[in-house]
């Protein structure tokens, strides 16, 4: 991790040319769904844009791009974050898990994914990857003991189709079936 940090610092370039800023790029290494990926990007890039536009992982969605809707939720070192307000450089040397990395190696669905299907916990599906990543974390944190606790700790994920009843049922259903995933 420390070496990667130094890599980042060494590769930062910012040169003023005739009063105009020419931004440099940063090189970083991020473990995404178990695989080390190296990226050379503009330091302004969000983790969400890095995942979607640079790594082709379009599961995490851009809803508001301001941390208000939760559609971009991913796990960073095992904790849920909104990837739109995480600078990609801040993920350097860390582990990111997205919806694409949730299913088992045999392609079998994660219990939370299956529960969302079983309980019809979506309509348009745009918020669903973020909902599922938040829900997996919600259970792991121990915040899924009751419907009211699930509602409180899932409140960062908006569903404008209004599938909340199904979402809460899915989380309650999947929680006891989640082991190591």
């Amino acid at each position: 991790m420390h070496d990667l940090d130094q890599d980042v610092q060494a590769s930062v370039l910012s040169v003023a040319v005739e009063g105009r800023d020419v931004e440099g790029s940063v090189t970083l290494g991020v473990t995404v769904n178990g695989r080390v990926r190296r990226l050379t990007i503009d330091p302004r890039t969000s983790l969400l844009d890095a995942l979607r536009d640079h790594l082709g992982l379009t599961g995490a969605k851009k809803g508001c791009d301001h941390g208000q809707c939760g559609a971009c939720t991913v796990h960073l070192d095992g904790r849920r974050v909104v990837s739109c307000l995480t600078m990609a450089v801040q993920a350097n040397g860390r582990a990111v898990r997205t919806i694409e990395g949730l299913a088992g190696v045999d392609g079998g669905l994660h219990p939370m994914q299956q529960a969302f299907i079983d309980h019809d916990a979506m309509q348009c599906g745009y918020c669903t990857p973020g909902q599922i990543m938040a829900a997996v974390a919600c259970v792991r944190e121990g915040h899924a003991a009751s419907a009211s606790e699930i509602r409180e700790y899932m409140s960062g994920n908006l569903c404008r189709c209004g599938a909340y009843v199904g979402i809460v049922a899915a989380v309650q259903d999947a929680a006891p079936r989640m082991r190591e995933d």
């Binding site: 940090d5 910012s14 440099g24 302004r44 849920r80 974050v81 801040q90 919600c138 409140s155 994920n157």
Partner: protein, 333 residues
């Protein structure tokens, strides 16, 4: 978003030096949930960002001390909110954290950064064509006489009525917290109550910190008042929203009689607002629905309503009254 240089120091001293050496466009960044958000809106346009997340020494906290609680500035909101001792002995502090934002944001946001969260005033965030003295000093205030339903009724000026949006600071100010800082000129300690400024004629200057001054820790004197405390937060929706009105309350009682009370207000003022007149109104009195409501009214004696935010005066008084009764219910014999 404007281009910037990114740097990630590994010591607190190096971080402070990087900001001091970097010039006026250099900013500290912790969790980034405010700064990076405002950079996307071109409200914040730093030329250099000094990433603090490598400073592990500042990410710890200790609630076991008999004299004081210590919170490193980079401790995540989520971890501190869930601390069992805080939940048991200082519920107002825990509640002020878990009733803020979402779990995703609380995993990212830090205690020090949270103190410096900037207002959610839509005119401030939205920018042109609307005037905002906080965003562009001297341009005017579109909120005064405008869509001011969410704005302050306490501490406003003719230049700005933007609400201070945080919850944690409101709870901290009720507990006489102090903030330790480091700058190239050395360390100093500021009472939290002196950290935030009222807008006056300079709403763009929000704190008493120097630009190169870093909050390194927050300290709260240990007090038995913590147990009978609450952070009561009233919102447009039940969760994941900013306060319309909130009250941090803590009590020390002798039977039915209030010996000491702490009352602070959020969502209604331009800074974390300690309501000492409400506290004085309670001391020596029996605490019941009528005296709680009277204390709530006392807290808003100086309030000034704008066009659409007058409801906050009644709502705020009721919030204080309800918070007092919740805190009273937590007193154990």
């Amino acid at each position: 978003m404007r281009p910037f240089t990114y740097t990630k120091p590994h010591t607190v001293a190096a971080a402070v030096r990087a900001v001091a050496d970097g010039g006026s466009g250099t900013r500290f960044m912790a969790g980034g949930t405010t700064l990076y958000d405002l950079m996307k809106l071109n409200v914040e346009m730093p030329t250099t960002v000094v990433d603090l997340t490598g400073l592990r020494d500042l990410a710890t906290f200790d609630t076991s001390g008999s004299q004081e609680l210590m919170f490193g500035a980079l401790a995540p909101m989520s971890d501190v909110a869930a601390d069992p001792r805080l939940v048991r002995d200082y519920p107002a502090l825990s509640e002020s954290l878990w009733r803020a934002a979402s779990q995703q944001l609380r995993n990212m946001a830090t205690l020090g950064g949270n103190l410096l969260q900037r207002t959610r005033c839509a005119y401030f965030r939205g920018g042109e064509p609307y005037a905002c003295n906080k965003r562009t000093p001297g341009s005017g205030c579109a909120a005064i006489g405008g869509l001011d339903r969410g704005h302050a009724v306490l501490g406003g000026s003719t230049s700005c009525i933007a609400v201070y949006p945080g919850d944690w600071s409101v709870a901290l100010v009720a507990f006489d917290a102090q903030v330790d800082t480091l700058s190239p000129r050395g360390e100093r300690t500021i009472p939290l109550e002196s950290l935030h400024r009222e807008p006056g004629d300079t709403p763009h200057i929000e704190t008493t910190l120097a630009p190169d001054e870093l909050i390194v820790r927050i300290r709260v004197p240990a007090t038995p008042l913590g147990r009978a405390s609450t952070y009561h937060k009233i919102r447009d929706r039940e969760s994941y929203a900013f306060a319309l009105a909130s009250a941090a309350v803590a009590l020390h009682m002798d039977g039915e009689t209030v010996r000491e009370a702490r009352v602070a207000l959020g969502g209604v003022a331009t800074r974390p607002w300690r309501a000492r007149s409400a506290e004085r109104a309670l001391v020596g009195r029996s605490l019941n629905a009528a005296t709680a409501r009277a204390a709530g009214d006392e807290a808003f004696v100086d309030a000034r309503a704008g066009r659409d935010n007058g409801f906050k005066i009644e709502l705020g008084a009721r919030t204080v009254a309800d918070a007092l009764m919740i805190a009273k219910g937590r007193i154990r014999a």
